[in-house]
């Protein structure tokens, strides 16, 4: 217990510190973008949030496969925790993206110009369905099994959705092209640091959320012991 506590502490401090540095880099170190101005600074946290969302759902896939292979319930806890964190960050990406879109294109929801927006909203739907599935299945073991399968199928569909949305958009006039990789070195450095900081933040949250899952499991076990009046 004491050892895992230490890892928690290290991660807590590390993520706090790296987020502070990230803020400094975003607002002070990174130069102001020429055409878009200060609003472009949304980019760093927006893309990083989206990255954490995507990465979290990848972890859910891995957790699902590991659970189905070994039957270790901890993997199910990790998968569920990751979905929750992933949804939170995807929601952040959607909201910050929408604000950015309003600032640059004067539209909160530019479906046609920004296919990634569609993709992200589908991700939200997919993993809300994942949570809904868990809420509607009876029995812990079966819940974990179904969720694992859905986590796998859902993630496999993501590249297809991405591609179809991409191609779907191609028939419409491309109004804005984002200069993805043409970032100035200082911007790129800031961006990369943000990615790292967010990934650390993700793992910190995952650790705490998984602990929550284990506690819930423990509480269930105790309740069952009380109910049957016998040790498990």
């Amino acid at each position: 217990m004491s050892k895992s506590l230490r890892i928690e502490d290290v991660l807590n401090w590390l993520s706090g510190l790296s987020m502070m540095v990230a803020l400094y880099l975003v607002f002070v170190y990174a130069p102001t973008e020429a055409t878009m101005g200060h609003v472009q600074r949304i980019f760093y946290f927006h893309v990083s949030s989206a990255w954490v969302g995507f990465f979290a759902f990848l972890v859910t896939l891995v957790g699902g496969i590991a659970y189905l292979r070994g039957g270790n319930r901890d993997w199910d806890t990790v998968a569920l925790s990751s979905v929750e964190i992933g949804l939170t960050f995807t929601a952040m990406a959607v909201i910050t993206g929408s604000i950015w879109a309003k600032a640059t294109w004067n539209a909160w929801w530019p479906w046609q110009q920004e296919p990634r927006l569609v993709l992200v909203s589908i991700l939200l739907l997919l993993y809300l369905a994942y949570l809904m599935l868990r809420a509607f299945v009876e029995g812990e073991e079966r819940k974990a099994r179904f969720a694992a399968v859905y986590g796998i199928v859902a993630f496999v569909s993501v590249p297809f959705t991405f591609m179809s949305v991409r191609w779907w958009q191609r028939l419409h006039p491309v109004v804005f092209e984002r200069e993805g990789t043409h970032l100035a070195p200082a911007m790129l450095a800031t961006f990369l640091f943000c990615l790292v900081a967010f990934t650390i933040l993700y793992f910190t949250l995952l650790l705490h959320r998984s602990r929550l899952g284990r506690l819930a499991d423990q509480a269930e076990g105790l309740k069952e012991r009380l109910r049957t009046g016998e040790g498990g």
């Binding site: 029995g139 812990e140 073991e141 309740k223 498990g232």
Partner: protein
């Protein structure tokens, strides 16, 4: 025929079976009695390979249920408390379908034999949903016997039957067991429990608490034993 050692089955934190030991020899008829929630259905479903044991050893004909389930399935017939038949299909179509998925050679002949055995020849072209509860149960037994299993598992076969249907079922089971088929049956009816079996076991709270030979057992003695072992759960 059946060997069970230290069988445990849990659903999450709930334990359905805790440390069950059981031994059934070839041709034996074992009845398991116990109150609702004792774990009877769970035990039968594990023997039928429908559920995997959490831990412990379960062997049928020396084959492990977890790893050799396909071979075991050829040897067992399972009569569930549901009929496992398609209500829209006719009696004959149901049996032919199951015959095909069990790889039964000469399905037609086998179906004819079974329909005669369970006395449903006259209803063979009727949809399964039009059958009475007793007939459904006999169809269900015919379904379970389609591939000539050497082990028959019956889960609460008498539930929901009237006196006459239950009597027909008893005669049918007597005929089947005369062919030296091994049978494991569960019930919560103590009188039915003692009718045909060689051995009777009491299952309570996921454990086999009592086992007895049925040679000189009277219903009164058995009822005494049942109350003693099942205790507080039995309504007095």
């Amino acid at each position: 025929m059946i060997q069970v050692q230290g069988l445990v089955k849990s659903f999450g934190h709930t334990y359905a079976l805790r440390d069950v030991d059981l031994e059934v020899t070839q041709g034996q008829f074992l009845t398991i009695v116990g109150p609702n929630g004792a774990g009877k259905t769970t035990l039968l479903r594990i023997l039928a390979t429908l559920l995997k044991p959490t831990s412990g050893l379960v062997r049928i004909d020396g084959l492990d249920v977890a790893s050799r389930s396909a071979e075991i399935r050829r040897r067992i017939g399972f009569v569930s408390h549901q009929s496992l038949t398609y209500s829209k299909l006719t009696v004959e179509e149901n049996l032919v379908f199951y015959g095909r998925i069990y790889d039964v050679p000469a399905v037609k002949e086998r179906v004819d034999t079974l329909l005669t055995l369970v006395g449903l020849e006259a209803r063979r072209h009727d949809a399964a949903r039009t059958l009475s509860r007793g007939m459904q149960q006999r169809l269900s037994i015919a379904r379970a016997m389609i591939h000539q299993p050497s082990l028959l598992l019956l889960d609460e076969p008498y539930t929901g039957l009237d006196q006459q249907a239950a009597e027909m079922l008893r005669q049918l089971l007597q005929t089947i067991t005369a062919e030296s088929c091994t049978v494991v049956m569960t019930t919560h009816n103590l009188q039915r429990a003692l009718e045909l079996c060689h051995t009777v076991a009491i299952l309570a709270k996921g454990r086999i608490v009592h086992e007895a030979e049925n040679t000189s057992l009277t219903l009164d003695d058995f009822q005494q034993a049942y109350w003693h072992y099942v205790g507080d759960r039995w309504p007095r």
